[in-house]
Amino acid sequence: MKKLTNKIVIYGALLLPISLFGENEVQSSLSDQAAVFLSTNAKYHVVIAVLVVILLGLVAYGLILNRKISKLEANQK
């Protein structure tokens, strides 16, 4: 039951952003302003760099987990 509650909390937390934003109006020019800001300040590269670092961090975490599980499997045998 605890496992199920945990799952519901995790999936609920993932879906929360959708319900929280609701139907609030955002100025239509906001995305244009953001695009202009990013392009004029050459910030696209910063965005890409941050995203790549996050992804590589997750990949490294996945590899560490993989190694740990392999060790545990070897010990169990």
């Binding site: 039951m1 199920l4 993932l14 959708i18 609701g22 890409i48 996945g62 993989n66 169990q76």
Partner: protein, 360 residues
């Protein structure tokens, strides 16, 4: 799925990561092609000289605009004059409809790239409503309406991602939103396969594999909903357009899979849990596919491309530049999530073995 395959699953992660990094960098750096995103007027009156400003998205100095053409019921009217101000193109029209009635006209902005012989056009569907004046009796449409036949769509000449009205820069989300659903369908199909395998041979490990792939498939579905919801807010001005059959199908389908989790948690006996969950999984998968892939196609209208009355991405929007990133993105995300599913299965197997050891 044998031991050797599982030990090598890290390659799935590494290959997936390389593909996703490639799509991440390329997908954000490739510029968007030039397009026309709208006009400052919705209506002009026939026989009256009127000026309309068209908003040009991502204009490039190499493109020399020659004229704006309004097309309605196989007749074409050319602008009297055009003035290019970079992001704005001002065109003056004096249209006489003649025998035609009032109605919407498509706009074709015709231009030429420096050093190239061929002409290209930018397109805005239903750009202007032409209101017929009472004194309008003789049409002043162009004598040769085939002028646009010799003009190519800008996508064939200019490099970059396709520029589509409403989508604009958000078309880059195609590399994240759609692969989530492809990945989900793949994982759920694998899950169903192992459910069938369990029902046939009765090995609990098949049920654990099925469950692991299903869990990660649900995660994919949630990520698909989040990326889609953000995209919908940008393009359709709503976080969740309730009248779209695809979205409703997805919502129902996701709840069916949430019910799977509840069902599993409610049964204590491992074999009974595995059998009932497998039967449920085998039943739910075809229904889920029908809800997200077949029902939306049968509906009259849908905002999603390729469903209801709308055309598919593949037909107009998915050009070769986008394909170079779209297909690797699908493979990359499927690889990464398959690795996570295999990891999830190995953790479950460790857990079950430990329980067995404790019981002994």
């Amino acid at each position: 799925m044998n031991e050797r395959m599982m030990q090598r699953s890290k390659w799935l992660l590494l290959i997936g990561a390389v593909l996703v990094v490639y799509t991440l960098i390329g997908g954000l750096l490739i510029p968007l092609k030039t397009g026309v995103s709208g006009s400052d007027k919705l209506k002009i009156k026939s026989t009256v000289t009127d000026s309309v400003n068209f908003e040009i998205y991502n204009p490039v100095p190499e493109l020399f605009i020659e004229g704006v053409y309004l097309s309605k019921s196989d007749e074409i009217w050319k602008s009297q004059s055009v003035h290019n101000f970079g992001k704005t193109l001002s065109a003056t029209f004096n249209v006489s409809l003649g025998s035609q009635k009032s109605g919407y006209a498509d706009a074709f902005i015709r231009g030429q790239f420096k050093g190239q012989d061929s002409f290209v056009w930018l397109y805005l569907s239903n750009a202007l409503w032409i209101e017929k004046s009472p004194d309008d009796s003789i049409s002043n449409a162009m004598a040769d309406p085939s002028i646009l036949d010799n003009t190519r769509i800008i996508d064939e000449v200019q490099g970059g991602f396709p520029n589509r009205v409403v989508l604009n820069e958000s078309i880059r989300n195609l590399l994240y939103h759609v692969p989530m659903w492809f990945s989900m369908m793949f994982l759920l199909a694998v899950s169903m396969y192992f459910s069938i395998k369990y029902l046939r041979f009765g090995h609990l490990k098949d049920d654990w594999i099925s469950m692991s792939f299903l869990h990660v498939g649900i995660l994919n579905g949630i990520l698909g909903c989040i990326t889609g919801s953000i995209w919908a807010r940008v393009t359709w001005m709503s976080w969740w357009p309730a009248d779209d059959p695809k979205l409703n199908g997805v919502a129902i389908g996701m709840f069916m899979y949430f019910a799977y989790l509840v069902l599993r948690a409610s049964i204590k006996d491992e074999y009974q849990k595995a059998r009932i969950a497998s039967v449920y999984n085998v039943l739910v998968f075809p229904i889920f596919m029908a809800l997200i892939a077949i029902m939306p196609k049968l509906a009259d209208n849908s905002l999603h491309p390729g469903t209801g009355g709308s055309v598919g991405f593949n037909k107009y929007d998915l050009d070769n530049t986008l394909r170079m990133f779209f297909y690797p993105a699908i493979l990359g995300w499927i690889s990464i999530f398959s690795f996570i599913a295999i990891l999830r299965y190995r953790i479950e197997r460790l857990h079950q073995r430990q329980l067995d050891l404790d019981n002994e």
